[in-house]
Symmetry: C2
Subunit: 274 residues, 2 copies
């Protein structure tokens, strides 16, 4: 079974009710080993204060969410996008994060095609990588579910992420999120292809059979259809020894609850359903 | 450019306002070459009457929607499901359809996993195939978008459909629907892998960048982000010479319009954006 000492809280799970500071304290209170903060919350708290608070609480940072958004309409300021990604690398370095998660961006407005977007993603990662390598921050491409291909991320399978890693090489890996990838009949083989070196993060939640909203209706582990223990076993067979990062976007359910209750339930569900 | 003499109307596009009989007349009136009826409409009209009316109108039947739904909870009557699929084969034969489209079913209730569902699908198709072969009705697996993996169809990539074709052999092919498959970075290669023999249908509509509903908010060709001419070129490079079947689920937009207007716009958009 999954080890409840290996949990990380992605702060999206509690962001409606808790600031980053509160989330850090909550993790310490519930003996949750790690945290994965979002950049807006880091900026709100201040980078140095956040780093100190996380360090003092003894938390591992399983990732920083997020860099990316590489795809831009024609004429848009590309340099500003790259500069912002470099700042994200700096923040991940200061927080000693396991990786900077990349959500690569969708199809830009103005008639761009999927192929155009793919080229922009590949080019931008190639430009960002030397900076990330020199900062010792691994970049984790997060393949998003194909339902986000148009508006959020045009890398939608672990096969595609693996292809990009083949192409762009060292310092680049993958965030394996069961919500985005569970349906893929080649998932086991592609996790093996990624191997220990590339698997930089493991994100969990559940896919509800009746999903009312494409973005904000993720389920708690055990409430949906994903065979999470199976996917975890595939990741761990490769030698992954990072944390299980719990990331639940749930406007009408989990975000409305007392985050202390949510954290208690997360621990219980990791023991039972992960 | 696409040939407007190669259009087929999937009757889901007009089903809110038109019966099957009205849709047949509408196709004839707009010089649309083919039709793809849904089984509930066939039953409502009567199979023999539908076959005669379609024949008299000179329409090609690009497919019958749909067989499948092979995945069942434990203890559910499997024979009834298989019998119903055989009736669907009979209907497709009577209508001289190019294929019977299969929507394979999602994850059954009661704790089944994706792997369980995949096994049920493979087993059921293997049982149905001899019957379909003897009726000369090709079976077309329609890989659905991964967002339907839980509730409608657990075959969610053309790669998976190709694997099933490899496994189960003659008489089995694929319905290539741009809405379900457009995001796949391996789509060109998998269409080539399928080849002329397996590409039994080509379904078109568009993916709206802002999609308000996971099922009922498909776009008209040209209103979304899919590079339809590119996918069409890949299919036609393989020698596909069937019709472009227009299937638009659109509760709040296209279903509310006068179907005669919808058919006029379809012809225009096939000329401009397909």
């Amino acid at each position: 079974m999954a080890d409840i000492n290996n949990i990380s809280l992605n702060t999206a799970t509690t962001k409606l009710k808790w600031s980053l500071s509160q989330a850090i304290d909550g993790c310490a209170r519930h003996e949750i080993a790690g945290i994965s903060p979002w950049r807006d919350q880091i900026q709100e708290m201040g980078l140095h204060a956040a780093a100190k608070h996380i360090r003092d609480a003894g938390l591992r940072v399983s990732g920083v969410c997020r860099g990316g958004m590489f795809t831009l309409p024609h004429g848009h300021d590309r340099q500003a996008m790259l500069d912002d990604n470099k700042r994200a690398v700096d923040e991940a370095a200061e927080l000693n994060a396991d990786c900077l998660v990349l959500v690569v961006g969708g199809i830009p407005d103005g008639g761009a095609t999927l192929a155009d977007a793919h080229t922009q993603v590949s080019d931008a990662i190639a430009e960002l990588l030397p900076y990330a390598r020199s900062a010792n921050v691994p970049l984790a491409i997060e393949p998003l579910h194909p339902m986000y291909a148009a508006d959020r991320a045009c890398v939608n399978s672990i096969a595609h992420a693996n292809d990009l890693c083949d192409e762009l090489d060292d310092g680049l890996g993958i965030a394996v999120d069961v919500y985005h990838l569970w349906w893929d009949h080649n998932l086991k083989a592609e996790i093996a292809r990624a191997g220990k070196e590339r698997i930089l993060a493991f994100h969990i939640c559940d896919w509800l059979k009746v999903t009312s909203d494409m973005l904000l209706d993720r389920g708690m582990m055990g409430d949906g259809v994903i065979d999470i223990p199976l996917v975890r076993s595939w990741v761990e067979e490769q030698g992954f020894d990072g944390l299980y990062e719990v990331e639940i976007f749930s406007q009408d359910n989990w975000w409305q609850r007392d985050p202390d209750d949510v954290l208690s339930i997360i621990k219980q569900r990791v023991a039972e359903a992960v």
